[in-house]
Symmetry: C2
Subunit: 268 residues, 2 copies
């Protein structure tokens, strides 16, 4: 099943911020059986965010995760874009409003803000696309948003890494796993990295090609450092199957064949 | 003028590799007057890479920079995708071939590879879209590729960071600057970050909105850490103009108004 990650924020595009959020999200999604098809970073512009979401929907992506653009400022436009892309109205969500109110009461008590009042900027964080389920933010003010759309779902998370990770780990993971279980094509992947013993990637390439032609459901990738530095290039094998056992069998088969063919070439 | 960065490689999408290349490239392009519209990471699949390149072309992007997928292995598909997207034939480029040959002779002399011969896998790195100018790779084997397309250009760089940076710095920067000079809408941007003195982003948001409505050609962004931790949220001002002097004037005006309005709110 396919997933896409959309990171929203001009600071990524100007090189101010290294987008570690997408990397972290990819690391969460991959072992849970999602193939991330694309990671896109876009500007804080409704049309551009909506365009990327629509591209994902058209392609048949099951899970779209956005990060960034949920806060109180004028350039937080993610939910407006989600509404445009999905044709949903933006409505005040009472549960989200309660979450926002609770947080600002807490922040006020701690002396972090001057007033607990819900200004229009704060209220904005509770105005969600129709049908959304708000996910509590254990760290900051803006709730995460889970929007089920039949056979797919859009999960919107904040851009502040701590908030993003907290909502994902504490509230989104369970939903993602349930959602994945309900999808028909659930598959498991296993992987192992071996050392090739040689530094010539172009020779490894020939053998990889042969193994991938002979063993189905395996993906092999050589992992070179800069030329000449790595005299022992690692090679990563990733195998897929309906069960872990099946995937493991494919993996063993591929590694065995690779080792045999490489030895044959080197012995020539 | 617009730019886009396309990072190619499954390892980014599975969360194995943090895409620092795109971040570095954005840092290079922004101060040279390019607005990076999108950063996209895609899989090693010709159709998907070509699709992203075509999207950029359709949008009117002037400079498309790809990173990754130039090496000798079966999953290095970038140039095939560039050819598909631009309707160019893939042809053996004699200059590129000389570069590849030279490198492998060197690697062979250093004992890094078993033979200096140009195998099909090695030759592949010299097969470029028609009209390409190969850029020498001071570190590795695969040349960079500069493909002029009238009012736009596609620059393809390897994915190994050292190789990418070396080609960019030593051979691509000059071409990019010349290309930029020839474009009509050259604009300069300047920026400054100030401390707001307060920790409430929703209050800053109100003032930012007002300043941006009153001062044209300025972009203002508050940079919050996790709530409550930052009691003094930094605010970044970016101003544009036809000259540095003009941009600087806009910047001063915006900061002055921001400081004044924020003080008024706090005094209330």
């Amino acid at each position: 099943m396919l997933a896409e990650i959309i990171a929203i924020g001009r600071e990524i595009l100007t090189g101010k911020t290294l987008d570690t959020n997408s990397h972290w999200l990819a690391q969460q999604l991959y072992p849970r059986g999602f193939r991330v098809k694309r990671i896109v970073a876009v500007d804080d512009v409704v049309e551009e965010i909506a365009h990327e979401i629509l591209s994902s929907i058209k392609y048949g992506v099951s899970l779209i995760v956005t990060t960034g653009g949920l806060g109180p400022t004028f350039d937080d436009k993610t939910l407006e874009a989600v509404a445009v892309a999905t044709g949903r109205k933006l409505l005040l969500n009472e549960n989200a409003l309660k979450m926002v109110q609770e947080r600002y009461r807490e922040f006020y008590q701690k002396g972090w803000v001057d007033s607990p009042d819900i200004t229009p900027e704060r209220k904005k964080m509770a105005i969600l696309p129709d049908g959304s389920i708000p996910l509590p933010n254990p760290v900051g003010a803006a709730p995460g948003v889970w929007l089920p759309l039949g056979s797919r779902v859009i999960l919107s998370l904040p851009g502040v890494p701590k908030e993003m990770k907290a909502i994902f780990t504490e509230y989104a993971v369970k939903r993602i796993e349930e959602f994945r279980e309900a999808l028909p094509e659930a598959r498991v992947s296993v992987e192992r990295t071996i050392n090739s013993g040689i530094g010539d990637e172009s020779l490894i390439a020939q053998v990889v090609k042969e193994v991938m032609a002979q063993v189905p459901n395996v993906y092999i990738k050589s992992l070179p450092e800069t030329f000449g530095k790595a005299v022992d290039i690692p090679v990563r094998f990733t195998a897929e199957g309906k069960s872990e056992q099946e995937a493991q069998k494919v993996l063993e088969q591929a590694i065995e064949l690779f080792t045999k063919l490489l030895k044959e070439r080197l012995d020539k």
